[in-house]
Amino acid sequence: MMAPLSWYIVLGVVLFVIGAAGVLLRRNILVVLMSLELLLNSVNINFIAFGRQYGDFRGQIFAIFVIAITAAEVAVALGILVAFVRNKSTLKVDDVTMMKG
């Protein structure tokens, strides 16, 4: 007995809202980046659930692409973070105002 599609969608919604809360409310840049991963993963659940529902492989293929792009994003984001912390030695999101001039 498979779970219906709406359950997977609801799980995706719950994880998306939790991840958005982390992005919007947390002060630590690292946790904000982790919450971003959570957002992308909830979208992946939707891709694969819909792909299975309609018997289409493209859901899985797009999920794989999302994972690959996420890996690139995390690498660049952590590189920027390391360079930033070396210059300013802070991890607070509201202190990152370097580009404001």
Binding site: M1, M34, E37, N44, R52, I69, A72, A75, G79, A83
Partner: protein, 166 residues
């Protein structure tokens, strides 16, 4: 049986996701995120998608989380532990979150198309072959573009994180 497993994995993943957001220590957040990714890959297996499940474990749990833990160990996180949430008025963000959640829930629960348990085409055990044929025939150009993006990110991360002026 599938429903019970789904409820188990979904509950654990939601609890782990909440732990990611409310944990004080970033290391705890990272470990909870790892647990959450493992549950999500189990959910992928429930969805008859073993390849994304394995890629999820390899890439997320094996590479990305290790990267996060290395960066946490590399930089001093002690001063950021003291204050979890942004100071001042979080009211607009909270209102936005509630609106977002209510809207998505309303849309999902309203629609009748999602509640149908439609037994999709049962696989004949040859799905990985078909999947990879689609991936490498129809989606070859995006695949190559993704590999170029990964290479650029690799070089960019090294240039950014290098000491001194680069």
């Amino acid at each position: 049986m599938g429903q019970g497993f789904f409820l188990l994995f979904a509950t654990v993943s939601v609890i782990a996701a909440l732990t990611v957001v409310v944990a004080r220590n970033p290391v705890h957040s990272a470990l909870a995120l790892m647990a959450c990714f493992l549950q999500i890959s189990a959910i992928f297996i429930l969805l008859d998608a073993p390849l994304p499940a394995v890629i999820q474990i390899f890439v997320y749990v094996g590479a990305i989380m290790v990267l996060f833990l290395f960066v946490i160990m590399m930089i001093d996180v002690r001063e950021a532990v003291l204050q979890r949430f942004l100071p001042g008025g979080n009211l607009p963000a909270l209102v936005l979150l509630v609106l977002l959640g209510v809207e998505m829930f309303a849309l999902v629960l309203w629609s009748k198309r999602f509640s149908v348990v439609e037994p999709a085409a049962v696989g004949d055990g040859d799905e990985i072959r078909k999947l990879s044929t689609t991936l490498f025939a129809d989606y070859l150009l995006p695949f190559e573009a993704a590999s170029v993006v990964l290479l650029a990110a690799l070089v960019g991360a090294i240039v950014l994180a290098r000491k001194g002026e680069g």
